[in-house]
Amino acid sequence: MTPVPMLLADGVRKSYGDNEVLCGIDLEVTPGEVMCLLGPSGSGKSTFLRCINRLERIDGGRLWVDGERVGYRRHKGALHEMTDRQLCRFRTQTAMVFQHFNLFPHMTVLGNVTIGPVKVKREPKAEAVTRAHELLDRVGLGEKATAYPRQLSGGQQQRVAIARALAMRPKLMLFDEPTSALDPELVGEVLAVMKDLGDSGMTMVVVTHEVGFAREAADTVVFMDGGVVVEAGSPDRVLGSPQHERTRAFLSKVPV
């Protein structure tokens, strides 16, 4: 028996009014896989990512995370839309890292990393704090636990955001252009943490413009344009010898 896919998308569609952003996305991510989504702006990459944890609702098709239908519960042979509480529980399985970090500015770094485990998962505070310190050490910010986000550089803030996501022990991590808002010299430190995470076996879906990172860290590279998957495959194939004109045109424009 093949393992349950961590993420399965079948004909996912999404529109805003008349504007169709996703026009039937089929994808599969196996446990432990690192998938990079590349493509020009407006190609629907971020929207697709936000459908996975239901920050956005899909208008058509089906999505599963670890075998569970996103946003629905099976009950007596029918699918019922999840209540707010069920949705909260569902969302704890995935974690998301945002382009603009979205750290909570009124809490310290430690507060940011422990609020999920303590308030959502009801873990004992002491345990959460110990683990938060471990995670901060892991992203190289062990010294910054008492700092406020404003006092950190962009790269440090994004690494805290990764630690905050990891604190929830997610099965699947979603990265929405995690380095796009960073000064060029700070990109490397964040990518290094992500590469490390992928190597340790975390399942990750990464929307990025960093072709170098995709080549180095991804198991699968997916090129999207105009709301469809243009091509998908190993980094060598998609980045090395792209089959489609649109992929080639895109790759010729981005820095490698």
Partner: protein, 316 residues
């Protein structure tokens, strides 16, 4: 680039020890002197005027006045608490996607912001004319007994304040970046938890300065409750001057107490603002005395220190 001849260069560098004379702000000094002179005239006029300052001193701590003061503070705080609670509830309703709750919140703001407070106080106080008695099934009573001046003042002031607070809270909530809500939801927080732990604490930073103004306004508006026989500060001083005819003296007593209370609460507000501004490191506190003196005596105002960014670990 043309280089100056060594002689010119040497001449320029040699002149480095000259004395620097800062710009003198003569205009500021003249304006300050004129204003102080006018102020002195005003104070002299009042000191020499027909005011019996001994009476002011005598009644300043009179039991009736102190009771009135306590009532003013109590009704203001309770009405503010009611106003804030209503403000949060109606702001959330106003922003909800449910068209019914949204419209009801709009109606609430429309009515209670659109009619004078004094009129609303009279409405509540005279509610017995519309509903002579209340019957809750297990308990019933006469409205005249229930709607005391205290309750009428509390409802009148609090519900009116709630209408203003609704808009203030809504503005505060809208000021918080949408990404904060998304980050909280992504962590698995409920909508209620997101609002109370993430959005409202950040909205408070925007809400508190305005809320301070509202509270000061409410404190002074509470004097209108004198009309419906609530024994607050103004009514207390009226009660006394109806007997001894020292009208101006007792109004000065009341005014002084209002100023004292407002001053104390303003200081409290400053500390509250500092608490909710935590994490905003560019909010550096400069004492007003230093700020005031520096504009008079120095050429530059004291600027708050820029936020400290620690970049020792930034190298990849």
């Amino acid at each position: 680039m043309t280089q100056s001849t060594p002689t010119t260069r040497e001449r320029l560098l040699a002149g480095g020890d000259e004395r620097l004379i800062p710009l003198r702000h003569w205009g500021r000094w003249v304006a300050a002197v004129i204003v102080l002179a006018l102020l002195a005239l005003l104070i002299r006029a009042f000191a020499a005027g027909d005011i019996d300052w001994d009476v002011v001193g005598e009644f300043f701590t009179a039991p009736t006045i102190i009771r009135g003061l306590v009532n003013t503070i109590v009704i203001s705080i309770l009405a503010m608490v009611l106003g804030i609670a209503l403000g949060v509830v109606f702001a959330v309703m106003r922003m909800s996607r449910n068209p019914v709750t949204n419209a009801v919140a709009g109606l609430y703001i429309w009515f209670f912001r659109g009619t004078p407070v004094l009129l609303q106080l009279l409405l509540w106080f005279n509610l017995a004319l519309v509903f002579p008695s209340i019957n809750l099934g297990f308990w019933q009573g006469d409205m005249v007994d229930i709607m005391t001046p205290f309750l009428a003042a509390l409802l009148g002031l609090g519900i009116n304040e709630g209408a203003y607070m609704t808009e203030i809270v809504r503005g505060g909530i809208l000021s918080v970046n949408r990404g904060q809500t998304e980050a909280a939801l992504t962590l698995g927080m409920s909508h209620t938890g997101t609002m109370s732990r993430i959005v409202l604490p950040q909205a408070m930073r925007v809400i508190i300065p305005t809320m301070g103004n509202e509270f000061i306004g409410l404190l002074k508006n509470s004097s209108m409750a004198a009309v419906i026989a609530y024994a607050e500060l103004l009514r207390a001083s009226q009660k006394i001057y109806f007997v001894n005819y020292k009208v101006m003296e007792l109004l000065i007593v009341a005014a002084a107490w209002y100023l004292i209370v407002v001053t104390v609460f303003t200081i409290g507000q400053m500390y509250l603002e500092r608490y909710f501004g935590r994490g905003q490191s560019h909010v550096t506190h400069v004492p007003w005395t230093r700020r005031f003196l520096s504009t008079l005596f120095k050429t530059h105002a004291v600027m708050p220190e820029p936020p400290k960014v620690d970049d020792e670990e930034d190298r990849p």
